[in-house]
Amino acid sequence: MAGRSSALTWTLAAVVVAAGVIPILIPSMATLVVLILAKGIVVLGIIILLQAGQVSFGHAMFFAAGAYTAGFWGKYLGVGDLVVYLVVGTVFATILGLLVGLFVVRYREIFFGMLNLAFSMVLWSLLEKMFHLTNGADGMRVPRPTVFGMAFSPENFQYVLLYLTLTIAIVATFVVQRFLESPTGNMLRAIKSNETRLEYLGVSARRILLIGYVISAALGGIGGVLVAVAQQIATPEFAYWTKSGEFVFIAILGGVGNAMGAFAGSAVFELVRFYASAQLANSWQLILGVVLIAIILFAPNGLIGLWKRQRAARDES
């Protein structure tokens, strides 16, 4: 038992060091690693909802809420500070999550998924149609912000952003893992296995799901701010349903039983996309599709499940 948990600690440490060091050796990787980590943070939220057996096909709305916080700030208030973006973006996504959540937690399964999708498409069309406010389909530029009041050159900024993102990802993973082990996190899993019994314990399943939903919306907002800042733009595509689908895809790819799955899935997804789109300009989705089919058929618990299975096999031999 101790051997296994220390092995996990070492693996985590190795991954964190790799995420921090590789971009120094290969500077062109810095933005890619930020995208991997930022999307992983969003996917943590998807994993929370999957504990309750619920799939949201609209979580891109919270991602967009975070991204457009940075966009609006840049357009209407001038260059802001990344820390302020993160705080305001998270608060904004959290409030949106609470409002939407009050509706969607009344539903389960396909109805839950589709209602989320509907809300996100409303946001998408607002962002697209309210041209004078949002620049429509062109999106809003996100000028390079200061960080804690300090301005950085583009070269230095990408590293500042990288290490800040890495720190947030580590903290978010720790917090989500703790949450999933808490009474509330366990009640979230109980919604999946027996909601009737949960109600007969005097617990409101809707309230528990709402807590999970709001946390997952907040994570979506954080990820949205980071991606918009890394790509220096927020567009309506951030709220589009394919973006929501991408987050669910990454969650399944990585494995939903563990917070680490979010980052494993996100790394594979972004790397496949990065290299496949360089090699096969228009058919990289095909490669991702094949990867997903292979995962579902051969590793239903995702990449993390595959890794755990290998470790277990090695421990036995």
Binding site: E181, P183, M187, L201
Partner: protein, 248 residues
């Protein structure tokens, strides 16, 4: 000495299409007793548990718990008032271990929904472990509920209900689905646990041996009404009951 009336049902009526489950049911549950409800299949005994726990709303009539009307309340509110329920088919969190099932119940009861503390570190843990001892399932504490045989699951289901520290426990055929050789053993454990925790209990039962051996009082539910109630020896000797309910 008059015992306190815990649960008081008056004039309950409910029908499902053409089937009359209850048509003017009056029933009191007294503090400290073990009341068995017997009756023909489909008579409406489980419906009574569903009404008393707020799962179904009667078309007429009221249910009071400690003098307070609870008829229109939801199951989770009624649970908080102090009525717990064990199910005919155990309702457990099958992906969780046995001790986790109890800890979730304890957290639900205390309202301790902290976000950053592990479920396993709850202060109620040792109390829940003694509850496992009380119903003799400590040995399976760390097994997943989904892996257990039916008899054990029944006991876990009852332990989960007891974790809520109810004043009244409603049980639907606590020994159905259990091998007949184990029935008495399970009921012995259960009754001892109920007495130790001073929980009043109502159980719907088919098996007359169970009723004779474990109930203080028995109520016969037939044709939408309580036909007769009293000490088991008296009620089960009644010729009409023998003919219509027991079938001899």
């Amino acid at each position: 000495m008059t015992a306190i009336v815990l649960l008081e049902a008056r004039g309950l009526a409910i029908r499902f299409g053409g089937v009359v489950a209850a048509d003017g049911v009056d029933l009191d549950v007294l503090e400290g007793e073990k009341l068995a409800i017997i009756g023909p299949n489909g008579a409406g005994k489980t419906t009574f548990l569903n009404i008393a726990t707020g799962y179904l709303k009667p078309q007429a009539g009221t249910v009071k718990f400690l003098g307070k009307e609870i008829t229109a309340h939801r199951p989770r509110d009624i649970t908080r008032f102090g009525i717990a329920r064990a199910f005919q088919i155990p309702q457990l969190f099958l992906d969780h271990t046995v001790i986790e099932n109890l800890l979730i119940a304890a957290a639900g009861h205390s309202g301790r929904t902290t976000l950053m503390r592990s479920l396993h570190d709850l202060p109620e843990r040792s109390e829940m472990e003694s509850l496992l001892d009380l119903v003799s399932i400590r040995d399976v504490a760390d097994r997943k509920a989904g892996e257990l045989p039916e008899g054990k699951r029944k006991l876990v289901d009852i332990a989960v209900a007891l974790a809520l520290k109810p004043r009244l426990l409603l049980m639907d055929e606590p020994t159905s689905g259990v091998a007949s050789s184990e029935k008495f053993a399970i009921m012995d454990i259960l009754v001892a646990a109920l007495e130790k925790q001073r929980v009043t209990s109502v159980f719907v039962e088919h098996d007359m041996d169970m009723v004779t051996r474990y109930a203080d009082r028995v109520a016969v539910w037939s044709a939408g009404k309580i036909q007769i109630s009293g000490p088991p020896a008296e009620v089960l000797a009644d010729p009409v009951v023998r003919e219509q309910v027991i079938g001899i």
